[in-house]
């Protein structure tokens, strides 16, 4: 018989070490997979994890990929710390891109320097607006926010569909569901000419620093921690839990919306249907792998971004399917959750 027993106290050292443990276990089991495929693990890891960032372009691409992941995960960490499970960041990203992109399309021939800031502002408003729906449903009707935020994602994708298939379709686009391109004034500047990494990276770093400060040095951060630990305790302390839920949702939605508008005004340059390769969902892994800690999230976003780039290189140089990237993401999450579980519970065999 196997018996699971709650530990009296769980170690916070192990809590912060478990991502490292999870990564090492992933590397170990990853080696077994490579061996099984008749590939040398060391060579394969070199191709998978070092090859993609062995030049400046690769590093820039890593930032292109990691920046939206980190930005969304930072926003999500507010919700998750508060024990509010916003699963709908993908939808908030989509509506952010739609709002901000809509501004860009409305002024498609503008070359005003205010165009891009307005787009970015509307992007974050769009994301926050979309996040406010599950927040209101949760506070007014006690609706499960996991379900409502998730389902709103699919609604958001259909709304974007409607606009790029219908009213915002490029009149010269041969019927393809794509908008016209934004004007140059509506494009996000890149960090270095010739590379795609854009100034969204600065926003991400600033928001990470700000979040670190908020979580550790402000009353708001303290309320989040208390409520997350025990909502009853926070009620006794006189905190208004409903307000906290709404604030965390709005922050999280605004971050996802920013990621959305950065993606469409940055590397993409127009609106179309597949603007995000599921950044909103992958960011959930990033947030937990980063222990909901802003610095941790920066590192975990880089690691998860690397698994995407590595999967492309692995196809090219190792001739293995693209799914191997997802296998690594899955392994990391699996071992992380396992380590967390074993930190909280002990397994007794008798």
């Amino acid at each position: 018989m196997i018996k699971i027993q709650k530990r009296n106290s769980s170690s916070s050292l192990i809590f912060y070490l478990s991502p490292i443990v999870a990564i090492f276990l992933t590397l170990f089991f990853g080696s077994l997979i490579f061996l099984f495929l008749d590939l040398s693990p060391i060579e394969s890891f070199k191709i998978f994890f070092i090859g993609p960032i062995s030049n400046w372009y690769g590093l820039s691409e890593l930032l292109v990929k990691a920046s939206p992941l980190a930005l969304i995960a930072l926003g999500l960490s507010y919700c998750f710390k508060n024990n509010i499970y916003n699963i709908g960041a993908e939808g908030q990203l989509t509506i952010g891109a739609l709002f901000g992109g809509g501004v860009g399309l409305f002024f498609y021939d503008s070359n005003s320097i205010f165009l891009l800031p307005t787009m970015i502002l509307f992007g974050s408003i769009g994301g926050a607006f979309w996040a406010s729906i599950p927040a209101i449903l949760k506070t007014k009707f006690n609706t499960n926010e996991i379900l409502s935020s998730l389902m709103l994602t699919y609604i958001a994708l259909l709304i974007l569909d409607y606009f790029v298939v219908g009213p915002w379709k490029d009149p010269t686009g041969y019927g393809l569901p794509k908008s016209r391109p934004f004007s140059d004034a509506g494009r996000l500047p890149v960090l270095v000419d010739g590379f795609r990494a854009h100034i969204g990276v600065y926003f991400t770093i600033i928001i990470a620093a700000l979040s670190y400060f908020i979580f550790n040095k402000t009353l708001f951060g303290f309320k989040l921690r208390v409520t997350g630990f025990s909502s009853k305790a926070s009620k006794y302390a006189g905190f208004k839990n409903d307000n906290l839920i709404i604030y965390t949702f709005l922050i999280s939605g605004a971050c996802a919306g920013l990621a959305g508008i950065f993606e469409v005004s940055g590397p993409i340059g127009q609106l179309y249907r597949d603007i995000s390769p599921n950044y909103g969902f992958t960011a959930i892994i990033v947030a937990f792998l980063g222990r909901l800690n802003p610095i941790g999230i920066i590192f975990s976003s880089l690691l998860i971004a690397l698994t995407y780039l590595g999967a492309e290189d692995a196809q090219l140089f190792l001739k293995i399917p693209s799914a191997v990237g997802f296998v690594f993401q899955g392994l990391v999450l699996f071992f992380l959750l396992g380590a967390d579980f074993l930190n909280k519970y002990r397994v007794l065999l008798r």
């Binding site: 019927g175 249907r273 390769p277």
Partner: protein, 356 residues
């Protein structure tokens, strides 16, 4: 901070990855789906293998699969260009902007963009006259339908797809003036779940034949389950629906790929537009299902193929009217390639509007 990070990470650059032999030409492919889709991507992969067999040691090939049609595509295409590939095939219409973007940066690398229409000095375009196959299946559908209702599952309202619908309807209504087609727009090339749903909806609306312009075999399987007839797309899909599959329109890319790769090996590659059909063998019909089709009907289908091949029949022969009743192709004439390439209207008799 970011600069610091870049510096730290750049230390990794000592593990560089270049181990290219100069002699053989490297040829890369960008796939929208997995080669296992048994449809569009599968056939491009078959083409790649054909090319490998044909050219042997003078080339080596690689592919990147499941590349989304967004900002990721730029990186994937660029990765092929940067890692020493000499010729890169991007095998979906929606890679157009991304292909052009990377091609501009790598003027010495040759690019081939499937089904596109924008060319530069190092970007060729190529496509197949799939609509010729639509003429054959339109004829068969017109003859085989009992409910006079055909279900038609489509991806995007672009000329290639609309051309297919028109060619199909012109052939079907020629042999059966009462035939009606019901169209469902899926807005994706490969989404088996959605394609199966669309097929079931159409069958519930009385369609007894399912036609698709999407990439998976799900519609044909749904037809098999419901006991109605179907045509396959891109590859021979008979194995997935043996009792409902009449034939498939097959895309045969191998000879073209081999020829283009050879041109790169020989140094004779130039940018061009290629649009080939039955005559050149880029489009073929799968063996007609003898269990479902009578010998006479199979003979008729073969004859249509032959006539299109030798030029005595064209899929778009006048008089052709648009939905508004205006004459678009006069009696005795055929639609020219310019009209076909930009076809954004339904012919008279098709119900509904092209989504705008």
């Amino acid at each position: 901070m970011i600069r610091k990070l870049l510096v730290i990470l750049s230390f990794f650059s000592i593990f560089s990855l270049s181990s290219l032999s100069a002699a053989e030409k490297k040829i890369g492919f960008i796939y929208i789906g997995p080669p296992g889709d048994h449809g569009w991507t599968y056939m491009h992969d078959e083409g790649r293998k054909y090319m490998e067999d044909a050219l042997g040691d003078s080339i080596s090939t690689t592919y990147i699969e499941n590349v989304p049609e967004n900002a990721d595509a730029v990186r994937a295409i660029r990765k092929l260009a940067q890692s020493g590939h000499d010729l890169i095939f991007t095998t979906s219409f929606n890679y157009m902007d991304q292909t052009l973007e990377v091609a501009k940066e790598f003027p010495d690398v040759k690019f081939e963009h499937a089904t596109g229409f924008q060319r530069t000095d190092n970007v060729s375009t190529y496509s197949a006259r799939f609509y010729e196959g639509r003429t054959v299946i339109g004829h068969l559908a017109g003859k085989m339908t009992k409910t006079n209702t055909i279900g038609y599952i489509v991806s995007f309202p672009i000329p290639e797809v609309i051309r297919g619908i028109n060619a199909f309807y012109l052939a079907a209504s020629k042999v059966n003036p009462d035939v009606k087609i019901k169209i469902i727009w899926n807005y994706s090339w490969y989404d088996p779940g959605k394609e199966a749903d669309a097929a079931n909806t159409l069958i519930n609306q009385g369609a007894d034949i399912i036609v698709q312009h999407t990439d998976s075999y799900a519609p044909c399987q749904a037809a098999e389950k419901a006991g109605v007839l179907a045509f396959g797309q891109a590859s021979n899909q008979e194995a997935f629906c043996p009792n409902s599959h009449m034939t498939s329109i097959e895309d045969i890319w191998g000879p073209y790929y081999a020829a283009r790769a050879k041109a790169v090996v020989d140094g004779t590659w130039t940018s061009q537009d290629t649009w080939q059909g039955f005559k050149e063998g880029m489009v073929e019909m799968s063996p007609y299902n003898k269990k479902l089709l009578s010998n006479d009907l199979i003979a008729e289908a073969n004859k249509i193929e032959k006539s299109i091949e030798d030029g005595t029949l064209h899929s778009f022969e006048g008089p052709i009217y648009n939905q508004a009743g205006e004459l678009v192709v006069a009696e005795g004439e055929v639609a020219d390639d310019g009209m076909l390439a930009g076809m954004m209207f339904y012919v008279q008799g098709i119900d509904g509007d092209i989504p705008q």
